[in-house]
């Protein structure tokens, strides 16, 4: 896996004063989640515990077979009142929406466009690619996390849940490198511990949490109850 260097890039700030004000009360703009084996149950556990008022967009990569349809999004939608859908190319990120990476595409976060010869930062959106699989995975967690780290920077929360390979370890490190909050599910509470274990070993996890503690922490983080003490 080639690691694309994170860097201290300028990042999105809204033009609208009201939006800016609203944003100042929150410490984060986006949550990204990566998982593979055992991921459905882990994701259900988290989504069930998030209140309908949860205001951060949540973008999920769950490894699955190339031919899969939108069953995963429908199953997740059944356990939460938050709207859940498969990611569509160029869709703007909406507060409280849950986006699932479609099978056989990479999913990235985008905030830059060219205006003439110069780049301009705008509201973050979703971008799909069919670039080659990374570490046999498409969607790849690393690709999502690295693009999110670049587009969002420190106002980003990255979470690695149960899974049977090491995808996401580099990506979680990239999020930590730009100052974002990073969480790995406690391997002991993971149906398949390899993925959180790899993320922890790589050094990207700020917090290691039991599955049932993750949703309550997200609620705290999004309500701006400060960056948590590391326990």
């Amino acid at each position: 896996m080639i690691s694309i260097p994170p860097h201290d890039t300028p990042r999105y700030t809204p033009d609208e004063p009201e939006e800016e004000e609203e944003r100042m009360t929150a410490a984060y703009d986006l949550v990204v989640v990566g998982t593979s084996w055992g991921g459905l149950r882990a994701l259900e556990t988290i989504l069930k515990e998030l209140p309908a008022s949860f205001a951060l967009p949540l973008v999920v990569v769950q490894h699955r077979q190339a031919g899969s349809d939108d069953t995963l999004a429908r199953l997740l939608g059944a356990v939460t009142s938050l709207p859940v859908a498969e990611a569509e190319d160029k869709a703007l990120l909406e507060a409280g929406h849950v986006y699932v990476a479609p099978a056989d595409y990479h999913l990235m976060i985008e905030s830059t466009t060219f205006v003439g010869p110069r780049t301009k930062i705008g509201r973050p959106s979703l971008a799909l690619t069919v670039d080659a699989p990374v570490g046999f995975s498409r969607p790849s967690i690393d690709v999502l996390f690295q693009s999110a780290a670049d587009a969002i920077g420190r106002r980003l929360i990255g979470i690695i849940l149960t899974g049977a390979n090491s995808d996401g370890a580099e990506g979680l490190m990239s999020i930590r490198d730009v100052g974002g909050m990073t969480i790995a599910q406690d391997p002991a509470s993971s149906e398949s511990p390899a993925m959180p274990r790899a993320a922890i070993a790589r050094g990207g996890a700020v917090l290691v949490l039991a599955l049932e503690k993750i949703a309550p922490l997200l609620v705290q983080l999004q309500s701006g109850m400060a960056r948590p003490a590391i326990h």
């Binding site: 190319d89 003439g116 690619t129």
Partner: protein, 289 residues
Amino acid sequence: MAETDPPLAEAPEESGTVERVEIELLLEGIHRLYGFDFRAYAYSSLRRRLWHRVYAEGLKTISALQERVFHDSACMERLMLALSINVTAMFRDPGFFLALRSHVVPLLRTYPFIRVWCAGCSTGEEVYSIAILLREEGLYERTRIYATDVNELVLQHAKRAIFPLAKMQEYTANYQRAGGTRSFSEYYTAKYDGALFDPSLVENVLFSQHNLVTDRSFSEFNLILCRNVMIYFDRSLQNRVLSLFHQSLVTFGVLALGRKETLRFTDHESAFDSLVQNERIYRKLGPGR
């Protein structure tokens, strides 16, 4: 660059980073030196592909890549390939090809002569898939397929009609799920580790270089396929390309996009209606809309 653009030196970067400036300068230079404009490509994937190229060339920075690209046209060719190649598969998304058979083929049957445009055909997997489908539906003899890509190298690959033998198991499964009516192995001959496809499948195919960013409409089509190509473009370029497709379609002509692309929120939403909603198959509406 337009004359009204301020010179770069006049406006110091507010919060620009080195990398951002490097990418801006590289793309500006490629446009001026080689005529290819990548500045309306989707930034995240472009950035990722640029870094892959930096490492593959054994370099460390995007400005080092710029130095090489500007002075070595072979390096530009490698970069061009990296930026424009789209990985695809035969009968990718079998459900889409099923919908083509059930909803689009009946429309095509009503035309005495059928023109199909595979825009951004890359290495040709989709072209062969369409040719097979049209042959099985008895339409191939009166069809001409225009297969275009910005990249000359991938077109040469597509013309060679040789695909990795190791892929045939996956393609056979796709073909069967796509409603294929024969044995997929009838369409190719195994040679070493390659599968050589029946040359008669491309008898009515015209491969040619065409740049969706800068080139114009060149014919009138009954069906345009452009799947997972515009995901690499930003919104403004998508809108321009959709205008090109709209101009290039007959009234009630069919436009097929990738499974997760949509006309919603584009300038052309009202110029098309949806023929098969979940497969993103659209039909151009008549004038007066």
